[in-house]
Symmetry: C2
Subunit: 187 residues, 2 copies
Amino acid sequence: MRKLIVFNHVSLDGCFVDASSSMQWAYTGSDDPEFETFTAENASGDSVLVFGRVTYQLMASYWPTPAALKQNPTVAAGMNRTPKVVFSRILTHATWNNTLLLHGNPVEEIRKLKSEPGPDLCILGSGTIVAQLAPARLINEFQFVLDPIALGAGRSLFGGIPAPLNFTLTQSRAFSNGKVFLRYTPA
Amino acid sequence: MRKLIVFNHVSLDGCFVDASSSMQWAYTGSDDPEFETFTAENASGDSVLVFGRVTYQLMASYWPTPAALKQNPTVAAGMNRTPKVVFSRILTHATWNNTLLLHGNPVEEIRKLKSEPGPDLCILGSGTIVAQLAPARLINEFQFVLDPIALGAGRSLFGGIPAPLNFTLTQSRAFSNGKVFLRYTPA
């Protein structure tokens, strides 16, 4: 059965995006070679990326642009090539390369996708999707990079979950740029 | 000069209290002897405890009671004996043993307290106070126990800060109960 993982940067106050829906704050400290090597290796599978509409549109507005191809050629090429799934009730088509647009209920669609053969699935950002799939116990693993910043405002990955969720810590690794990688499975 | 530190449990979604203002979720996993030894040693200074009104009243309603003295005799005795400071514009007196009630602006009062001789100061809970003192750069160290739980709702320690705050990670230690102790200084 395909695994579904979540990968996200999180601030000390629990946000994955700031009040302007930006993830820019998470890109500081990228000059730590040990951290760079770790994240490159960690991301080097061939997962299918899974998004909610908001995160999808944010990423689709950046990665295919000449600016992204110039600033981050390797990541941009990977993001553009990788198969993507986006959940939305309102989008009528998805223009970013290699995207499957799904209109159905994310819990049912993911249950179906997980039962089919194929590579693992990885959610980036997409708090609304995480908050629906986590209580349904469809997420096999949560990977967080805890950034040494407090944003003061923003969105939590777990806003709207009907009850607290407990996790089992399976890995923690601190980097000299102050980021801490944390890996959890549902308890 | 006296140091001011913050010590708090934090959920994965950045809350120090849940939607019912409870910290009860943070007390799970206390059967890990290594974690218990660590927290007992870490708390064994003779700091003055600093509170906002809400956290103060929460703690004052528990620690002096027969239930607390029975369930947690050592911690209760320590909490009741330790000198405490509470900030409030509305309280007229503070009934919990050994409490100094301050009506002034927390930034000015803490600046004054820090310039006087005496033991270090330690804030527990008290998000409103942290969110005022942190941007004023009056907090020398932040100690967090990151608990393996997502609450879904609650209060952040940094709600209302006027701009993001960056930190330097100085220690991280994971425990087998899934809690991660994190120590930061302001960057």
